[in-house]
Structure formats: C-alpha cells, structure tokens
Amino acid sequence: MSKPRLTREQIAQRAARELPDGASVNLGWGIPNLVSNYLPKEQIVYFHSENGILGMGPRAAGGEEDLDLVDAMKVPVTLLPGAAFFNQADAHVMTRGGHLDFCLMGGLQVSQKGDLANWKVPGAKGSGGIGGAMDIAAGAKHLIICMEHTTKDDEPKIVKRCSYPLTGLECVKTVVTDMAVIDVEAGGLVLREVAPGLTAEDVQAVTEPKLIILGSVPEMKL
C-alpha cells in the first residue's frame, strides 16, 4: 500500500512558499493557478498575465467584473496599487527576457537536465496549442514546475530523457510535486525536501534518474 501524497492544493501551498515578498510572478495553467490562494495576507506579489498585466489582484467580486480586465484564462480580475498594462509583446519581453522573478508552470515530464515537456500529450486529439509556455521555458529567470510526481499509472514523470514533446531544453530550476521539492543543479537533481511521512527512498523509488541526497532530507513545511 503506497503512502499518502499531497493534494494538488497542498502542492500549490508548498510552491507558494518559494515566492518572496515583492516578487514578480507568472502563474501557468493547472496547479500553479491555485498558488495565489496560499500567500500570506500581508505579502505582496506582483502577478503577471501574458495578456498584458503586471500587478493582478484577486478575482473580481460578483457584480464588479470588467470584461476588459481579465487574466489569461478569461477570468475577471482586479488590480493592486502599482499595477501596469502593456501589450502582448512586452508581456513576453518580461517572460522570455528573464525579467520576472519566478514563472510557475504545470508539467508532464521533467528530465534530469531540467528539460521540460508540458504542451502536448502524444496522440491527443485536436490541434494542440503552445500559448506562452515555450517563451517562458526559453527565458524564465527561475522556472518552477508544479506537478504530480508520477502518472496515474504510477510511472515516473521525472525522467532521464523526456519522451513527450519538449517545451524547452534545460529550463527547469525547481520541481514541486506531491512527494518532494527537487532542485535542478549542474550535477543533477538534488532532493531538497520530502512530503510529510515520506522518505528519500520513497521518492527515489518513483524517480527515474538517481537523486542527489545530501545528508538527511527535511520534511516539507506546509
């Protein structure tokens, strides 16, 4: 019987702790989209939206929506003091040019070198779509991937080489999963933390590349 892992909300909660006060941050689809729910009230983070907003506040209250003030997922939002509007090219000057402090995206696979696959499932129906993922992967200053550690069939998603279509090469800095926090370093993948109740061996058992384990690995604080 496998040990319990974190929920998607708890992955988001742990990822939120990577973001310092005052940071500029882009949140992608999936688990990253939950991260803003877990910031301490007193902390200010300038959320970036690829349609041309820096300094997005919470979702707009019912009756106060402005359909010209929406995030990249079409959700009506609000602005923090200090917010700015700009065009879509400048929005990606910020992502690709490495001007945002952190970018968070979901992932299908991450390789031991930090290669990322997250835009296309092989054999999926439809045209597929890239959106801003490849611009972010190419230039993000610090890219954090938030994902489940394994597939539904318990196959590793942290692999030696990505078998899914690539989004970018050697772009991931940190992976936050339902089992661990892992940093991509020059020498390989360093296991920084494990989820409560798990051991480094539990994480290694469902991780394809050999993890670098420096002494005793602390448990995540949520």
Partner: protein
C-alpha cells in the same frame, strides 16, 4: 491630398472592410475575450469573404469572436499560438483537414509581427529550440544558446479594436484589451480600426497615445461588441 482629418473615417463597419478580397491574410487582435474587433469580424462574416488566412492568438470559442468565420467556413489557414480546445468549429475542420494550422509560440508570434512592422526580415531566438516546432529549421548558437531562425510575419489587413481613436488614427486601448492590437497595427498593409469613440484631433494627450496615427489607415466608430 485630401484633408488629413477625416480621410481615414468610414461611416459603417461594412464599408470599412468592403474591399477585403477572397484569399486575404488578416491579423485579428484580441485575447481572453478582451480586445477583439468583433464588429469587423461580423461584417466580414456578412460579406462572406472566403479562403482567408487568419493570424490570431486563438480560433474563437464556439461561434464567438473568430469562431464565426470558422462556422461559416471562411478560413483555410491559421497562424496561431493557442487555437483552443473550445474552438469547436476550427477543431472539427482541422480534424477533417479542411483547415491547416501553423502553431507559433505566443511571444514569437508577437515578435515576428513586430519585426515586420519594424522592417526587420528575420531574427534568431532560443524559443522552441530542440522541440518539434523547430524541427528542420535553420539554427545557430548565440551566447551559448541554440537559436532558431524566425521570419517576419505580415498581413494584407489588420483588424484592430481600440477604445478611442482620434480622427487621424492615434489610438488608446482599454486595460487588458490592448494585448495584440498595437503590434498587429504595425504589421499589415492596411490597418482597420474599430473604436468605441472617435474624438477630434488634439483631444488625446500625446503622452498617452499607444498607437500613433501613422500605423492606422481606416477608422470606424463601433461600440464594443462581446460575442
């Protein structure tokens, strides 16, 4: 030369797009439900122009926004970053091989248009290097990074949604409805603007103009339409 004031103004959305021919390549501004030139799109649907190449971030939601042109089978090729799973008319025609698509990373779509507008023919970027969208394309290494050659992207027409235009075509936008509009305005042979309000020359503060008038060819007044 005609009086520069008012020579760009057209009386109706149907007249402002009346000469768009079959087979035209058209850029459409808009993202996330904001900043779509929906009055111009509806006029193009009424006109029934066919075999279009559409350049836009996505392909509409149902028959909203660009979706109407797919519903009417007016588009044969799309250059887009994220057509979207809810663009059902596009997705059905794509599956049936009635429409072709070139997927472009969103920021690179912007930069290819910006290059065209700026008179730059091509440039190198690391976006997509090593991925399937760069397969077979020319690569070089700069600053230690694998980079892919990108070419400028232009169009016959750009359909732009602005908040206010003055009578010579200086534009301002509203909030996140700006998105692709100012970039596309620079990259087409003929830039057609629908604006909520058309105001006299001199009434917009020069400090806040986002698109200067030189990029704008035609203007029509039309209230924001959400589809």
């Amino acid at each position: 030369m005609k009086d520069p004031v008012k020579r760009k103004i057209y009386p109706t959305v149907d007249e402002v797009i009346a000469d768009v021919p079959d087979g035209a390549t058209i850029m459409f501004g808009g993202f996330g439900g904001a900043g779509f030139p929906n009055n111009l799109i509806q006029a193009l649907a009424r006109k029934g122009t066919k075999n279009l190449t559409a350049i836009s971030n996505n392909c509409g939601t149902g028959d909203g926004e660009l979706g109407l042109l797919f519903k009417n089978k007016q588009v044969k090729h799309v250059i887009a970053s994220f057509p979207g799973p809810r663009s059902n008319y596009f997705q059905d025609q794509f599956a049936a091989k009635e429409v072709t698509v070139e997927l472009v990373a969103q920021g690179i779509l912007c930069e290819r248009m910006r290059a065209r507008g700026a008179g730059i023919c091509a440039f190198y970027s690391p976006v997509g290097a090593g991925t399937e969208i760069a397969a077979g394309r020319e690569e070089r290494v700069f600053q230690g990074k694998r980079c892919v050659l990108e070419t400028a992207l232009g169009a016959d027409f750009a359909f732009i949604k602005a908040f206010k235009a003055d009578e010579i075509g200086n534009l301002i936008y509203r909030k996140a409805a700006r998105n692709f509009n100012p970039i596309m305005a620079t990259a087409a042979h003929v830039t057609i603007v629908e604006a909520d309000e058309v105001v006299p020359v001199g009434s917009l503060d020069p400090e806040i103009i986002i698109t200067p008038s030189v990029f704008v060819d035609r203007i029509v007044q039309a209230k924001t339409l959400r589809t």
